[in-house]
């Protein structure tokens, strides 16, 4: 039942997004604009500032993820469909899981564009260790989105949700962001520090387990008015 409901919610979100492409386009546009603006500042005469690309990649991922989080839950607020979801005879954590997977999918699509773009503009050797980079991005995205989904759902009825979401989200997800940046830096430095990258991947996995467990546990009490 848990997985079935999570899948239904995810499929519904995908169906809406395929129709409107609203969140995907705005997220992609924002992420691309963000990287382009930074490239003008940090690439002088074709030579980028050392290590800037990694930081900018993660900034673009996190900021565009924040945008996607707000818009996804705006849809559930309009028409109060979140109440209908909460009234379904399923574990409420399954609703959370479905929403989380939708956000992760959107962020992953953005990253598919961002990674080659950053690698090209900042001459960052992001593809030298593809599996390590994949692990860092997947785990970092999951960690950020797991907390973000919980906070975005919790703040849905707050009038100041757009301001409160980043204020609450960024401090809590700082460990994930730091681990992502340092892990990716270890991969792109010369020579690459593979053991250090693996350590940060392990740290990210640990953060994900903690954040995901807490979020699944707290979703139901936080969503009951």
């Amino acid at each position: 039942m848990f997985l079935k409901v999570a899948w239904l919610v995810l499929r519904k979100d995908i169906a809406i997004e395929v129709k409107t492409r609203e969140i995907l386009y705005t997220t992609l546009f924002f992420a691309v604009a963000c990287v382009l603006v930074f490239s003008f500042a940090f690439v002088k005469e074709g030579v980028p500032v050392e290590g800037a690309g990694v930081g900018i990649l993660w900034i673009a991922v996190i900021f565009s993820g924040n945008l996607a989080l707000g818009r996804t839950f705006e849809r559930e607020r309009y028409g109060e469909t979140i109440r209908a979801l909460l009234l379904a005879p399923a574990p409420r954590a399954a609703i959370y899981m479905g929403k989380l997977l939708g956000i992760v999918a959107l962020m992953a699509l953005t990253e598919l564009l961002l990674v080659p773009m950053v690698a090209f503009l900042f001459q960052a050797p992001l593809f030298s260790w593809p599996m390590h980079l994949l692990a860092l991005l997947v785990l970092g995205t999951l960690g950020f989105a797991s907390v973000g989904t919980l906070f975005a759902a919790m703040l849905m009825r707050s009038r100041t949700r757009d301001v409160l979401l980043p204020i609450l989200l960024y401090p809590v997800t700082v460990p994930v962001i730091i681990a992502g940046v340092l892990g990716t830096s270890a991969l792109t430095q010369t020579p690459a520090d593979e053991p250090m990258a693996t350590l940060w991947i392990s740290m990210l996995a640990f953060f994900d387990v903690v954040f995901l467990t807490l979020a699944l546990w707290m979703f139901e009490p936080l969503m009951t008015e």
């Binding site: 079935k4 519904k12 129709k19 109440r83 909460l86 009234l87 379904a88 005879p89 008015e225």
Partner: protein
């Protein structure tokens, strides 16, 4: 696990939002076959009572009992027995009528084939099933939302202003539909400002004002006169 029940009872329930007391020590109950009209002016606490009966709003004090159990003891199985049509219609405007009904049917473990087609027919939208809800009039959305709330054949049907935006013919259809589901053994709790429609439809009238219960009596002719006598208004 099933969580069927013959009666829903709100026992001394209060709900405070910060300093504001939305509902204060209200007790009422409704049994199978009844259509209870929840009447009262704006801000009387009707929607909060509906939310508590739907298990979406937790009472600050008191409890809501479904037969012998509570929302906590019955868990998710209870929610299978509740159908809610709220002020906001709980529909996705980006999806078609059929997609909306199929999604909610599956969410309740109902087959998305026959029941969805039957719901579309009951809403008078069989020929508009593939149209996006965003293109529907308020009345069409209202009819669709009602069928969405009923698609899993709930025992407890909670309707907040179900006649909003409906034309005269649709009002007659919905009225008959509500009588039918009550006759089939559902418990219907209906919040409305339309006293003329309430008269002749509801079997019992519950009046609330300022978050307090001021009357709970069998429905009889002259609901409007009784309402004015107790609540006031020209």
């Amino acid at each position: 696990m099933t969580a069927d029940f013959d009666q829903v009872s709100l026992v001394d329930v209060s709900r405070h939002f910060g300093r504001r007391r939305a509902v204060t020590k209200v007790s009422l109950s409704a049994g199978r076959g009844e259509i209870v009209g929840l009447l009262g002016p704006n801000g009387a606490g009707k929607s909060t009572l509906m939310g508590m009966a739907a298990s979406l709003v937790r009472p600050t004090s008191g409890e809501v009992r479904y037969g012998g159990g509570t929302a906590r003891s019955l868990g998710p199985a209870l929610r299978h027995q509740i159908g809610l049509l709220a002020h906001e219609l709980h529909l996705y405007p980006e999806l078609t009528a059929r997609q909306n009904l199929s999604f909610f049917a599956r969410l309740y473990g109902v087959d998305a084939g026959g029941p969805v087609e039957a719901a579309l027919a009951a809403a008078g939208l069989s020929d508009r099933g593939e149209d996006d809800v965003s293109g529907f009039s308020r009345g069409m959305r209202q009819r669709l939302a009602l069928e969405r709330a009923l698609i899993h054949q709930p025992r407890l049907v909670l309707l907040d202003e179900p006649f909003t935006g409906l034309d005269d013919r649709a009002v007659s259809v919905v009225t008959e539909r509500l009588r039918g589901i009550a006759a089939s053994g559902a418990i219907v709790l209906l919040a409305t400002h339309d006293l003329d429609l309430a008269e002749g439809l509801v079997t019992r009238v519950v009046l609330v004002q300022g978050g307090r219960l001021i009357a709970d009596e069998p429905a009889q002719a002259g609901v409007r006169a009784r309402y004015r006598a107790l609540v006031g208004g020209a």
